[in-house]
Structure formats: structure tokens, C-alpha cells
């Protein structure tokens, strides 16, 4: 019997350790068992879907592990106990096969119900309606029902993210752009075209929804709608080289008016830098020995 007593001690120690971990982490309890959420509707819906699946998982876990534990205690070898020589039971086999299949049918159904809300962009809120422009859907690119969104190009390269904002014209070369931090208006549906120019990266801001890979030669799409102002942090999620850990990304959600000012300043800064570069080029053309 000694080994069984020892097993009880193991179980008690394990429970104590788990309880200790839980007690040490009261601040993060809300997100202890679930993914990040709260920044964008799609992240919230993934969180909800996760909670449903997790609940089913917990029931299965308790059922299986509970039966296992009960069996181990109830049917441990004792004096005089004789093992039942059972070879199987077809009805039971069919029963649990069908049971497992039914659980999966339920999970699949829930997923299909939740999928459109997560995958398909929704309309922008009224406050940001002035900032969104018509965007066309093609291939896997999805747009909100009203066809309008703020479409930002996200380009990954070792080890920085580049964001190209729309400026209303068809020339992509004169658009305002920024690195590392993306600024978006609160309430606007932002659709992202995700690309990479060297190796594979993955765009991921946990509170704003799921990640999407940026793979050279391909364009990947996702969306988010920041529901409240704030800074949402994330980082590259696909191994991209030595400084993969430092390839951070963040999204700053600001009121629509502030967004307009930001874009104006960005455009002016870029125009000023271009003008300065043109000036030094002109000087160098005139006098190659000049210091620019």
C-alpha cells in the first residue's frame, strides 16, 4: 500500500502547487484562462469562441481525468481482489465513438456561427465615418458591408514594421508612412494588406485580434476596429532571424480629429524631408565637392 499513499502525497503536492500559482496571480486572473481581448470586436469574438470551447474542454477534462482517478483508487490491487476478465463491449465502444463525434459536431457548429463575425470586417462607427474610403474586395480580401474602410498596408522586414496610410489618390508612392507605431482613428474599421519583403513575419496585436503571416510574394488580409483610445502592443510572431524578439509593433488608437492631424504632420514631415533631399541633390549636381 505504500506506493498508493505516496501517490496521494504527490497529488496533494501538485494541487498545492497549482493553488499556489493561482493565488500568486490575482491581478491577471481575468485573462489567466483566456486570450487577450478588449481592443477590437474580432478579438472579443475570438475570446468568446475560446471560452465556449474551453468550457467544453474543461467538462471533457474533468470527465476523463475524474474517471481515471476514480478507477485508480477504486480498483487498486487489494488482498482477495480478482480482476474481471473483460475483453470489450461493442455497445460501449459505439457509444463513446458517437459521443466524441457529437462533441466535435457541436464545436464545429459553434465555430461556423462565430466565424463570420471574426473573419469579416464590420462597418465603421459614425464618429469615424469621414475617414474611411471605398475599398474593393478581391480574392480573400474582405470589406465591410458598406464597402468603406481605412486600408493600411503593413510591410514586414527584418526587424521593423512599415505602415503605409491611404491618401485618396491612386499613386502609392506619395503616401504617408510610419514605422513601428501605427496610428488609427478610434471607431474606424481598418483593413490591413500584410506583406513582407525579405523573410516571413507575422502581424499580431493580441488585443486587436488574431495574427496573420506576412510572407514574401503573398498578400495576407485581416482587420480590426479599435473601440477605445489607447496603445495596443504586439510583436512579430513568426521567427524572422536573430532579432525576432525585438520586432515590436504597436497600434495607437486616437480620436478621429487627432488622426487627421497626425497624417497631416506625417505628410508635411515627409514632404519637408523630400524637399531637403532634393535641395542637397541639386547642390551636389551643381558642385560635386560641396558638403550637402
Amino acid at each position: 500500500m505504500a506506493p498508493i499513499n505516496r501517490r496521494h502525497i504527490f497529488t496533494a503536492v501538485l494541487l498545492a502547487v497549482v493553488a499556489g500559482c493561482l493565488a500568486l496571480a490575482p491581478a491577471a486572473m481575468a485573462d489567466f484562462f483566456t486570450p487577450e481581448d478588449g481592443g477590437s470586436p474580432n478579438a472579443d469574438r475570438i475570446d468568446t469562441l475560446y471560452k465556449i470551447v474551453f468550457a467544453v474542454g474543461v467538462v471533457v477534462f474533468i470527465g476523463v481525468e475524474g474517471t481515471l482517478l476514480y478507477t485508480l483508487i477504486k480498483f487498486r490491487a487489494r488482498k482477495g481482489a480478482v480482476a474481471a476478465q473483460i475483453h470489450g463491449n461493442t455497445r460501449l465502444e459505439i457509444g463513446w465513438t458517437v459521443g466524441a463525434a457529437l462533441i466535435l459536431v457541436v464545436l464545429a457548429t459553434v465555430t461556423f456561427i462565430a466565424l463570420p463575425g471574426i473573419r469579416d470586417p464590420e462597418n465603421s462607427s459614425a464618429e469615424a465615418s469621414a475617414l474611411v474610403q471605398p475599398v474593393s474586395a478581391h480574392g480573400e480580401k474582405r470589406v465591410p458591408p458598406d464597402g468603406k474602410a481605412l486600408n493600411i498596408e503593413v510591410t514586414g522586414q527584418q526587424y521593423v514594421w512599415r505602415y503605409t496610410y491611404p491618401d485618396g489618390d491612386d499613386n502609392p508612392l506619395n503616401n504617408p508612412y510610419s514605422y513601428e507605431e501605427m496610428v488609427v482613428p478610434v471607431g474606424a474599421t481598418v483593413t490591413l494588406d500584410i506583406r513582407a519583403i525579405d523573410v516571413a513575419h507575422a502581424w499580431w496585436i493580441p488585443e486587436l485580434g488574431g495574427k496573420m503571416d506576412a510572407i514574401p510574394g503573398y498578400t495576407n488580409y485581416t482587420w480590426f476596429k479599435a473601440t477605445k483610445p489607447g496603445v495596443y502592443r504586439g510583436q512579430c510572431a513568426e521567427l524572422c532571424g536573430r532579432n525576432h524578439a525585438n520586432m515590436i509593433a504597436q497600434v495607437r488608437a486616437v480620436p478621429p480629429a487627432e488622426y487627421q492631424q497626425y497624417i497631416e504632420r506625417l505628410s508635411n514631415d515627409i514632404a519637408a524631408a523630400n524637399a531637403a533631399a532634393a535641395e542637397s541633390r541639386r547642390k551636389l549636381d551643381a558642385d560635386p565637392q560641396a558638403t550637402p
Partner: protein
Amino acid sequence: MAADTATTPTLAPVPQITAHEVTRERTGLVDWLTTTDHKKIGILYLVTTFAFFLIGGVEALMMRLQLGTAENTLLDPSTFNALFTMHGTTMIFLFVVPIMAGFGNYFVPLMIGARDMAFPRLNALSYWLLLSGGVVFYASLFFSPPEAGWTMYTPLSNETFSEGGGVDAWIFLVHLTGLSSLVGAINFYVTIANMRAPGMGWGRLPLFVWTILVYAILLILALPVIAGAVTLLLTDRHFGTHFYDPTEGGSPLLWQHLFWFFGHPEVYIMVLPGFGIISEVLPVFARKPIFGYKAIAASSVVIAFLGLLVWAHHMFTTPSPTVVLVFFMMSSFLIGIPTGIKIFNWIATLWRGTIEFKTPLIFAIGFLSQFTIGGITGIIVAIFPVDWQLHDTYFVVAHFHYTLMGGAVFAIFAGLYYWFPKITGRMMSETLGKWSFALMYIGFNLTFLIQHTIGMDGMPRRVYEYPDVGNLVLYNRISTVGAFILGLGILLTVINVLRSVKRGPVAGPDPWKANTLEWFSTSPPPANNFDVVPRVRSVEPMKDIRRQIAHATGSGTPEAPPAPESLVRG
């Protein structure tokens, strides 16, 4: 069942052989280097792969040390990237897959009543190819170890982004170990198909042998794909081709598809023989026949088939149409059914048994309880919208360690404790074994349970440092402490093995009163395994033999200790 109607060889006259020359039996090092005995090759496999397991474990501990605190500067990024690349590659190509071949080598012929593998020299070649694969790979430590992860995603693994020979060493490792496994798989298949004891139809094949058969088939189907894929990578790197180069019309996604077309079956290649070990251990220590033999054997075959159809669930975040994502979600769901069936059957095997808590059984229970968690999180990550959050985070790291470490490795330890007496003729210490289990169980769960939360809090995998935000430091420190407890537990088993090899109590032929034919031979078995191969009449031939002896001698209960030696010599 032709085998059932064949005449029993035990009744056939012993052929007379005239010896023209008697070669001296080789001993010592020369014997180990030239052996074609499946048992010695099996031991070579087991010792070599276990050594690689310890190396891979040290790599893991170094990573956990680096992640023990935020913004740690203990290791530089290139060392850290090399560590996780070598850890993954070692554990998969040099430990879990080949150690299953080690157990298979030693026990498949014994369990089916054969005297060796079908092709003994090919068998030796398998082992030496494996060892050269390991040596070639680890030689890269002396120039530039690979840093692109065990998945070697292009373009990162292209010449432009991964200079030096590390990736090439990895490619040659895949070729050498792949060839080793392919040759070994063919050997297993031929042996199992042709060399079973009289009376051992497919319905009486031990469940471990069933899983080795399925393992062999999966290897034969999956390995040529990765061999082709890495050859294209090699020509991309050195001979100017552009199969995976997006700037010249190649496709990085092609690599991912080819890699995972091999990589996912590889997961089942690693875990199926573990399932087999569990199916052997549970009935022995519950003193009950396996529950649902046919269901367990059939579910292995179904898992293998479905395992070939789930590869793109590793690619849910790549640019893919929804219909593709849905297909791979559903196929991954489906594979949960045969896996669930196995778990239910195993618990039903314990149900109403008389469970003896010997170390092999305790490890098998560790497997059951942990693999269940890995299975449940597997369903969670199969749901692709949820996987968009969890993919490439520590949640996934936790998930696959629950299946591979908590699952396959605990099964390997169950197999080690179960079969050690047969291999060495000596028992291992139960006390040390149970302490080893306790530390491994606590350490493992401490390390990996918290990693689910680390991942959901936004920490991607394969990062050498992380910022001090939220509770990340606390969680990572728990994980690091757990890893060292786990390491200590493994160390206890190593000590147990080293002590017991020379000084353990003598085991005798059948210390566990087990069910399968390997226990019919002496411990360790002689070079020819069996002088006489008994006729097999059920899935549990040893139980039949014990009953037969009890009946013939009229001595005590049918569970009385058998005397196979007298039967063999007689």
C-alpha cells in the same frame, strides 16, 4: 489465416547441420561495431537516442535559464536561436522517432516469436546511418549551428539569410536519419508481415507491434516528401535554383506545405509507438485483458490515415482560402475521435482490474492524464479562428509538449521501466523510479501548464527575451523552476539505470507475469531468442502458457510463476 493452419514447427524434426568452420564469437567493441543481432542493435539505438535526449534536455534547460527573467542577457540571440533549433531537431530526429525504432528493434522480433529482423545487415545500416546523421548535425557546433528553427522556414533558411553550413548540416541530418528510418521501416514491415509465430494472425498481433507496423507505413509515406523538400532547399542554397525564392517566382509556402506534409505524420510517427507501449503496460499491471483490442488496433490505422490529411493546420495564419482552413479544421477534429477511443479503451482496461502501482504503470498513468490535456488543447488549436490568437505562441509550445513530452516521453519511460528487466536481466529500483516519476510529473506540469497562459498573454515562441509586462516574469520563472525539477526527475532515472544494470536484483524471465512472447525467453534473451517457438492461440500467449503449465503440473493457481526455461530447454 494461413498461419493458423500451418504445421507447428515444434513438431518438425531438427535439421542436421554439418559445421565446416566455427568462427570465434566476437566480443567487446568489435562485437558492438559489427553486430547484426537485433537486440544489440536495439541497445545501441536506445543508448544513443537517450544520450541525444539528455543533450536536447540540456539545451532546453539553457533556454529556460535565459527566459527565467525579463530582458535577460545570459545568452545572445544567435545562441538562443541555435539552441531551440537544435533542441527541436534533436528531440524529434535523434530521440523520439529513433528510440521507438530502438524499442521496435529489440522487441518486435521477440514479441512475434522471430529469431531476428528480416534483414539483419540492413538493420545495422539503419543504426549507423542514424548515428552519422547525429554526428553530422552536431558537428555544426564547431562552425555555425543552424538558427532557423527545426521547421527551417524559407526564405529565412535560404543562403541569403542563413549563411554558413548550419542549415546544410540540418539538411544532411534529415537525409541520413530519413534514410535510416526508411530502411528500418521496410525492415519492420517485412519482419512483421512474414515472421510471426505459428498461430499469430493479425488479430493476435501484440498492440505494440501493431503500432510499429503503422509507424513503419507512415515513415515510408512521409519521409520521401521531406527528402525531396530538403533537396530542393539544398539546391536553392548552393546551385542557383529558386524553388522557394519569392524574388524569382519561387514560393515560400511550397516549403511549408511540403514540410508539414511530412511534419504532421511525423507527430503520429512519434506518438503511435508510445500508444503501443501503453497498450502493453496497462493490461499487465491491471491483470486484465486489454479492453477493445480491435478498436485500439484499428484506431491506430485510422489515426495514420487521417494524420496524412491534417498538415495545413500548422498553416492557419498563412494566406489561405477559408475552404482550406475549414477542411483542415474538420480533418483535425476527426483525428480526435480515434485518439479519444484509445483513451477510453485504456481507462476501461484499468476499470475493474486489480491495479498494481509499479513504476511502468505509474508512468503509463502519467501519460494518460497528460496526453488527455494535450488532446483537448489540440482540439482548441484546431479551431482556426481561435488558432489565429494561439498560433506561434507559448500556448502551442505547451500543447505539443503535452503530447510529445507528457505523452510520448512518459510512454518511453513506461517502456523503459517495463522492458529494462528483459534487456538487462535485472530489475530497476522501484523507489528511485517512483521518485523519478514524482519529480518528472510535478516538474513537467509546472513547466508547461503555465505556458498556456504565457502564450495567451501575448508571448510568441522562439523569442530570446521578453519585456517585463504583466505577470510574464512570474509565469516564466515558474516554468523555469519546473524545467529544472523535471530535469532532476530524469536524472534520477539515469542514475537508476546505471545502478541497476550491474547491481539490480536478478529479474528472471518474466518478472511482471506479462502477456506477450518476449517474456517467454530468458532475460536477457540468447542470441537466437527462442530455441522453440510456441504456438500462439490468443493475444496473450504467456497467459496461456502459464495456464497450461499450471494445468500440466497441477500446481496452484493459473497465475503461478511460469517456468519457461524448462519449456525452452525441454
